[in-house]
C-alpha cells in the first residue's frame, strides 16, 4: 500500500495556499495543535486571519498548553522555556491542509516560539524532529494506528447526566460478524465522516468488549499517521453523533472486560535489507531491543492516566510483560514480515498503548526507543511464543501503576535526551498532578472499582 507523504493537492507555500483556499472556497480554517495530553487545541480562523498569520500562526497562550484536561494549571510544570520562546504560536503545517466541506478547512499546526523554533512541549514537532533523524540511520518508517473505543446508545449529554455509568453499548461483546448489523448505522456514518476528514483507513470491526469498535487506519509517515489518528477520533465521535450516540476512548470503562487500547504498527524498511531474508534485519532487532529497554519508562507516556493501568494485566488485555514474539498477540511487541512489495518490510505492532494516549507523543516515545536501540546496538532477548496473559506478575514486568511508570521515566537516561528534558520534566509534573488529583478527589480510589472522578475526567478525553 502506498500512501503519499501529503495529500497530492496540498499546498506548499503562500502562493499555492491562496490558490488552494480559492479552489476549495474556504472561508474558515480550523487550526489544530496537539496538547501534551493528546487533545486537539486551536482556533477557528476567518480566512483573512489565517492568511495574515501564515508564517507564524495565531497565538496559543502558554497556560492553555500547561493545563490538565479540565483546565486546571499544571502549577509544578517547568516554565523556563517561556522566557526565551515568548508567547507560543500555532504555525500552520500547510501540507496538512484538508478541505472538510462547507467552506471549512483543517490545518494541523506546530507550537512554536516567537522565532519560529518549536517549543519543547510540542509533541507534534518533537515527533517530526525524531522522524527526520531516521534517514541518518537508513531506516524508512511508515506507521498505522489501530484505534479502539466504545459506542453507547446515549448521547454525550445523556452519558454525562448518567455520570457515564449504566450506559447501553451498541452491540454485544465479541468479534463475531453476527454483531456487525448493530454497528451498521454507525459504519455508514463513519465511512462518510472518515472521507470528510480525509482519513485513510483499512478496516473496522467489532472488538472484545460490548460496543467496542476497532478502526485500522492506513499506513502513513509518522507525523501524518498521528495526525490521522487525531482526525479519526473526531470522525468516530461525529459518526456516533449522527445516530445520537456517543463514542468514548476511555481506557477502562465501568463495564470493560478488556478495555480500549491503541495499537501502533511500525512498518520498518531499509534499502539494504536483503529481500529474501527470513530473519529480521539487525537494525530491526536493535529497534526491538531499544523498544524493550525503554518500555517501562515509555509506559508513563503510552499509558498516561490512572485509568489506563486498570486494563494492564487483565486476561486477554493490555500486555503486562516486556516480551516480544512473532505472531504473538499477547506480547508487547508482535513482529510480522511483508515481502509482497519486492522489498522486505517488517511490521512491528506495539500493543502496550492505551486508547487515551496522545498519538504524537506515544509514537515519539516509541521512535525514540527504536533510535536508542539503533545507536546502542541493543540486541533484544530471545523472542517468546509464550502467552503473556498467563505469566506471573514478576516475570519481565511492565509498570502496573502510574506511579511506577512515572518513576521509571524519572529514572530513565535513554529516552530523555531524545524527547527533550523540558518535555520529560513537564510530563512528569503533569503525571504527578493527575495522581494527586486522583487521590484527593476520589473516595477510596485504591479500591478496584472505577471512580466517578475517572469517568468525569477521562470519559470524553481523546
Amino acid at each position: 500500500m502506498t500512501v503519499p507523504n501529503r495529500p497530492a493537492s496540498a499546498p506548499t507555500d503562500e502562493q499555492t495556499t491562496m490558490e488552494w483556499l480559492d479552489q476549495h472556497a474556504v472561508h474558515t480554517v480550523r487550526t489544530i495543535g496537539v496538547h501534551l495530553d493528546g487533545t486537539p487545541v486551536g482556533h477557528n480562523l476567518h480566512r483573512a486571519a489565517f492568511e495574515h498569520a501564515l508564517s507564524l500562526g495565531p497565538i496559543m497562550p502558554a497556560e492553555t498548553l500547561l493545563t490538565d484536561v479540565e483546565g486546571e494549571p499544571w502549577l509544578e510544570a517547568p516554565r523556563g522555556w517561556l522566557e526565551t520562546a515568548g508567547a507560543p504560536r500555532q504555525r500552520p503545517d500547510l501540507s496538512s491542509l484538508t478541505a472538510l466541506g462547507d467552506g471549512v478547512a483543517r490545518c494541523m499546526v506546530d507550537h512554536v516560539g516567537a522565532d519560529g523554533t518549536p517549543i519543547p512541549i510540542c509533541p507534534r514537532a518533537r515527533l517530526a524532529a525524531l522522524t527526520e533523524t531516521l534517514e541518518e540511520h537508513d531506516v524508512a518508517l511508515q506507521v498505522h494506528f489501530t484505534l479502539e473505543g466504545v459506542i453507547h446508545r446515549e448521547s454525550p449529554a445523556e452519558a454525562r447526566t448518567k455520570g457515564h455509568r449504566g450506559l447501553t453499548p451498541v452491540g454485544t461483546a465479541g468479534p463475531s460478524f453476527r454483531h456487525d448489523h448493530q454497528h451498521r448505522s454507525v459504519l455508514t456514518g463513519l465511512a462518510h465522516q472518515l472521507e470528510a476528514q480525509d482519513v485513510a483507513w483499512q478496516d473496522w470491526h467489532s472488538g472484545s468488549d460490548a460496543g467496542q469498535i476497532r478502526l485500522v487506519l492506513a499506513p502513513a509517515p509518522p507525523v501524518r499517521a498521528a495526525d490521522q489518528a487525531i482526525a479519526a477520533r473526531e470522525a468516530l465521535r461525529a459518526a456516533a453523533a449522527t445516530m445520537s450516540a456517543s463514542m468514548s476512548f476511555l481506557a477502562t470503562g465501568p463495564d470493560a472486560k478488556v478495555g480500549n487500547g491503541t495499537e501502533i504498527t511500525m512498518h520498518l524498511g531499509s534499502q539494504h535489507q536483503p529481500t529474501d531474508s527470513t530473519t529480521p534485519h539487525p537494525k530491526v532487532m536493535w529497534w526491538i531491543g531499544g523498544l524493550l529497554a525503554t518500555a517501562p519508562a515509555a509506559s508513563a507516556i503510552t499509558n498516561p492516566t490512572v485509568n489506563a493501568y486498570r486494563r494492564v494485566g487483565r486476561f486477554a488485555g493490555a500486555p503486562a510483560h516486556c516480551i516480544w514474539g512473532r505472531h504473538n498477540r499477547s506480547a508487547l511487541l508482535d513482529i510480522d514480515s511483508d515481502h509482497r512489495s519486492g522489498i522486505s518490510v517488517t511490521q512491528l505492532t506495539h500493543r502496550g498503548c492505551s486508547s487515551d494516549a496522545n498519538p504524537h507523543l506515544a509514537l515519539a516515545a516509541l521512535i525514540a526507543g527504536g533510535l536508542v536501540g539503533l545507536v546502542e546496538n541493543l540486541d533484544p532477548p530471545a523472542p517468546s511464543d509464550a502467552t503473556s496473559w498467563t505469566q506471573p506478575v514478576d516475570h519481565a514486568p511492565l509498570p502496573r501503576t502510574l506511579v511506577g511508570a512515572r518513576l521509571a521515566l524519572a529514572e530513565d537516561k535513554l529516552l530523555r535526551p531524545l524527547l527533550g528534558a523540558q518535555l520529560v520534566e513537564t510530563w512528569l509534573a503533569a503525571r504527578r498532578h493527575e495522581w494527586l488529583h486522583f487521590h484527593r478527589s476520589s473516595e477510596r480510589p485504591e479500591v478496584g472499582t472505577i471512580t466517578d472522578w475517572e469517568l468525569k475526567r477521562y470519559a470524553e478525553l481523546g
Binding site: 486546571e72 502549577l75 509544578e76 510544570a77 517547568p78 517561556l82 506511579v403 495522581w435 484527593r440 485504591e446
Partner: protein
C-alpha cells in the same frame, strides 16, 4: 532511614500522597525535630484519617521500625480523625480519638510536631528548597496577620515574595501542605514570575512527599 537516627520509616511501593506526606513528616520529626527517642520507644498500630477527604494512613510503630500504609487498618489500636493539613489553623476542630489514648497522644505529638512558628519551620524548609538550583532566590516571606517578614537566600533583592497567614506559612514550611495546594486554595499568594512560582511549587511538593532534591 531518617538521617542521623536509627529510625527506619518505610512505605508501600504504590504509596498514596497522604502516606508519603505522613512518612516524610515522621522522618523529619525523628531526624530534625528531636523526636527520634520518642519514636524509637513507640509500639502499636495507629491510624490517622482526615474528616474532609479520603486521606488516611496507618502507622505501625515497632521500636524504631516505622511502616506507613494506606487507609485505616483493621488491626489498628487507635484512630485519630483530624485534618492534618489544618492542625495549625486557629479555629481547627479538636481531633476525635478512638482507642488507646496514650498511643494517640504520643504518636500525635510526633506526627504533629509542626514548627511552633513559621520562622522555625523555615529553618528546615528553605535549605531543602535551595538544594535545587532551579528554585529562585532570595525569597521574601511576609505573614499577613502579624506583618512579620523575613528574607531567605542571598542578600539581594527578592525575586519572589510569599504572602499568607502565619499559620498557613507554618503548615507549608512544616510539610503539612505544599505551595501548589495553597495557591489553589488561595491561602497563600506569591508575587513572582510563572517560571519562579513553578520551580518553587515543584520543589515544595517534592519535599512534602519526601523526595530528595
Amino acid at each position: 532511614m531518617a538521617m542521623g537516627t536509627n529510625i527506619l520509616v518505610t512505605t508501600e511501593d504504590d504509596a498514596t500522597p497522604f502516606v508519603l506526606m505522613v512518612a516524610a513528616l515522621l522522618r523529619r520529626a525523628a531526624d530534625a525535630r528531636g523526636w527520634a527517642k520518642t519514636v524509637a520507644g513507640l509500639e502499636g498500630v495507629y491510624s490517622y484519617r482526615s474528616p474532609n477527604n479520603n486521606g488516611a494512613a496507618t502507622i505501625r510503630f515497632a521500636k524504631g521500625q516505622v511502616r506507613v500504609e494506606r487507609g485505616v487498618s483493621r488491626d489498628t489500636e487507635t484512630v485519630v480523625i483530624n485534618d492534618l493539613n489544618r492542625i495549625l489553623d486557629p479555629n481547627t476542630r479538636k481531633p476525635q480519638v478512638k482507642g488507646s489514648r496514650r498511643l494517640s497522644v504520643t504518636a500525635g505529638k510526633v506526627l504533629e510536631s509542626a514548627a511552633d512558628t513559621w520562622q522555625e519551620g523555615a529553618e528546615l524548609f528553605w535549605p531543602a528548597m535551595f538544594a535545587d538550583p532551579d528554585v529562585p532566590r532570595p525569597v521574601l516571606v511576609t505573614a499577613t496577620d502579624t506583618q512579620e517578614s523575613d528574607s531567605f537566600g542571598p542578600n539581594e533583592p527578592a525575586v519572589l515574595e510569599l504572602r499568607g497567614p502565619s499559620y498557613r506559612l507554618a503548615a507549608l514550611f512544616t510539610g503539612l501542605t505544599w505551595l501548589g495546594a495553597e495557591l489553589r486554595q488561595g491561602d497563600i499568594g506569591v508575587i513572582g514570575s510563572a517560571t519562579a512560582v513553578a520551580a518553587l511549587s515543584h520543589r515544595s511538593l517534592a519535599w512534602t512527599l519526601g523526595e530528595q532534591a
